[in-house]
């Protein structure tokens, strides 16, 4: 299997605010292997985006990341920032929720895609154009030659997201981090964009898919890490996680996905209550106030992440059938 492509160790992300520092990510460790798709699932504010923005030095002003991040053996958070600058946008690319933010309104699709490789001196103009068409074809953009001359506003939402993914593919990166890439899209277009990402993954690219919707990860992820209040509470291979979620939060997230085959009771399984405010830290497990199976210990002592083989869970009372293999 070899060394992981991306290795995050004990990463914490904090933001300085007038009311003192607010922790967004707390001592998270994870690995992304070559060619795999890791899904990071959590609600708004769980720290899932900040974890990767922090890892690649992209935090907003006032943000600070602490811990160790290694990409292909090179230290990214050390005093030497040159590895970070070399990697970003070449070997690591990001795709965000709103493709309009990734695309420049005053350049054509062709210009901005080519710019990615031309500015870095990776390819000459003719090669860049060929690469651009290749990237647009690989995201199955309809009529790619015509798209080269169009501006972002002339494209539909789904086409813009395809263009943003094509832009991420321009440098043939090793890793794409896609942060809620389908959340703003219709279900039909979402299904198509997921297909495109799945195909990119099948080409040998590693993919991190950040999402709040456990429903979309089933068809694409190899492994899933679930985050709550800045921490990973469970991680497991996708089949095992769906077959037997060990953490009550994972089980609740899974139950809240609207399904077409669920019995029509008129109700969806919601997780009652609110996630903790950003930076709010309590004794014990952060999920305890909303947890249906919390015991006294949960409110006293924070459960550590227990690792067993490929699975890990941070819970004092993990669900009984956890660990059972499907």
């Amino acid at each position: 299997m070899g060394a992981p492509l991306l290795e995050i160790r004990d990463l914490s992300v904090e933001f300085a605010t007038p009311r003192g520092p607010i922790a967004a990510v707390r001592e998270v460790s994870l690995e992304v292997r070559r060619g795999e798709c890791l899904a990071i699932v959590g609600e708004s504010g769980s720290g899932k985006s900040q974890l990767f923005l922090g890892s690649f030095g992209l935090l907003a002003a006032g943000g600070r990341a602490e811990g160790a991040v290694r990409f292909d053996g090179r230290d990214l958070l050390g005093p030497d920032t040159s590895p970070l600058r070399e990697l970003r946008g070449t070997r690591v690319a990001m795709v965000f929720q709103d493709p309009m933010n990734a695309l420049t309104p005053h350049l054509t699709i062709g210009q901005q895609l080519c710019e990615v490789v031309l500015d870095r001196g990776l390819l000459d103009a003719a090669e860049a154009r060929a690469r651009c068409l290749e990237a647009l074809r690989s995201v199955r953009m309809p009529d790619p030659e015509a798209r080269l001359r169009q501006y972002p506003h002339e494209l539909s939402g789904g086409q813009r997201q395809r263009a943003a993914i094509a832009m991420a593919l321009m440098t043939r990166p090793d890793l794409i981090v896609a942060d809620e890439p389908t959340t703003a899209l219709d279900v039909t277009v979402q299904a198509q964009v997921l297909d495109v990402l799945r195909e990119a993954r099948d080409l040998g690219l590693a993919l991190v898919l950040i999402t709040h919707d456990l429903g979309v990860v089933a068809g694409i992820a190899d492994r899933v890490a679930v985050m709550y209040a800045g921490r990973i509470v469970e991680s497991a291979p996708v089949r095992e996680l769906f077959a037997a979620p060990a953490h009550p939060y994972t089980a609740a997230l899974l139950a809240s996905v609207p399904r077409l085959d669920a019995p029509l009771t008129g109700r969806l399984e919601a997780i009652e209550g609110q996630p903790p405010q950003p930076g709010e830290e309590r004794h014990g497990c952060s999920f305890a106030p909303r947890c249906p199976s919390a015991v006294a210990q949960c409110r006293e002592l924070r459960p550590a992440l227990q690792v067993a083989g490929e699975r890990s869970v941070a819970c004092h009372a993990p669900r009984a059938h956890a660990g059972a293999r499907p």
Binding site: E43, S44, G45, P142, S156, G157, G158, Q159, D186, V187, T188, V189, Q190, A191, Q192, L194, D195, H212, D213, L214, G215, V216, A218, G219, A221, V238, R239, F242, A243, A252, L253, L254, S256, V257, P258, R259, L260, L264, G266, R267, L268, E269, A270, I271, E272, Q274, P326
Partner: protein
């Protein structure tokens, strides 16, 4: 027999497009094309379709926010006309709406309590301060918001809490029908489930009717008695919920169902239930030129007739309406 709240007949909405040159003729984009729709008291009707299918324009026409080009909208037996300010005000007391962007639907400079009170005063007129406060507090309780949040501003609340506040604003004057235009689409799935349940509770408690608009059939399924599928401004399928989900008839409905992500990695690796809709939803501009079925360009079953002739909305034995030339011949199971 339940009371008829909303009756829409042959509704069309058109928007002017850029002229072809300075002296060229105006071109029109038909966003909603001959839609019929009924909502009776306490009923929930789901409207499903992709971006650009006209579902929001339909909602806006019903709310009296855009002028229909043709057709009629009756609210409890009385025609709704855009020029009739008094009539619209009367209707608005009973017909309220919740939109997609929860933060954007609230005034950032008003506290949650003020926003809800403003809606109450606008709809029912000035009233005693104490009575108004009590109504606001009761309504916040009803949508599951702690009364202390009444003094907070929208930016201090989460998206789910803001959407609850927007619902509180909409129901404070006890409407009969709530139009929910993608009201849960921008929320996390866990919060989406809370809001879907809240709407279900309000329906049960007050007999509130819903017009629930969404692009996600899995969500619509939980809240609707009847489902209408729109494609480029036209109704392509309309059926009671059970019938629609047990046996979707139109190829587009099947494609929409196939696109719902299945939260099961084992099933997902198997074959999809139906072919995904290929390509993008066609733009309303492009479809104006075509004379046949608007879905023909993406439909795996389309033939020459589909491209030439507009399929009428036909009724099957079970009260299921389908606008497809081939619905009788399509494979029975999706």
């Amino acid at each position: 027999m339940s009371e008829h709240l909303l009756q829409v007949r042959g509704l069309s909405v058109r928007f002017p497009q850029r002229r072809a040159g300075l002296f060229g003729a105006h071109r029109w984009l038909t966003a909603v094309d001959g839609v019929d729709l009924d909502v009776v008291a306490g009923q929930s009707v789901g409207i499903v379709g992709e971006s650009g299918c006209g579902k929001s324009t339909l909602a806006r026409a019903i709310l009296g926010l855009v002028k229909p080009a043709a057709g009629s909208i009756d609210w409890r037996g009385t025609p709704v006309r855009l020029g009739d300010a008094a009539g619209l005000r009367r209707m608005r007391r009973e017909l309220q709406a919740v939109f997609q962007d929860p933060v954007g639907s609230l005034d950032p400079r008003m506290t949650i309590g003020e926003s809800v009170a403003e809606a109450l005063v606008a709809l029912e007129g000035r009233q005693q301060r104490a009575a108004c406060d009590a109504r606001v507090a009761a309504t916040l309780g009803e949508v599951g918001l702690d009364v202390v949040l009444a003094r907070r501003y929208p930016h201090e609340l989460s998206g789910g809490q803001c959407q609850r506040a927007a619902i509180a604003r909409a129901i404070v004057a006890r409407p009969r029908l709530l139009v929910c235009d993608e009201a849960v689409s921008a929320l996390d799935v866990s919060v989406q489930a809370q809001i879907v349940n809240l709407l279900g509770e309000l329906r049960e408690r007050h007999g509130l009717a819903l017009l629930f608009i969404s692009h996600n059939l899995a969500v619509v399924r939980h809240l609707s008695d009847e489902v209408i599928v729109l494609y480029l401004g036209r109704v392509v399928e309309r059926a009671p919920r059970e019938a629609l989900f047990a046996m979707p008839r139109h190829p587009y409905t099947r494609a929409l169902l196939a696109a719902v992500p299945e939260p099961d990695p084992v099933a997902r690796s198997a074959e999809r239930r139906a072919p995904l809709a290929e390509g993008e939803p066609a733009s309303p501009q492009a479809s104006a030129a075509a004379s046949g079925c608007a879905y023909a360009a993406r439909c795996p079953f389309a033939d020459e007739r589909c491209r030439r002739e507009l399929p009428p909305l036909e009724r099957d034995a079970a009260g299921h309406f389908i606008a497809c030339h081939h619905w009788r011949a399509l494979p029975r199971q999706p």
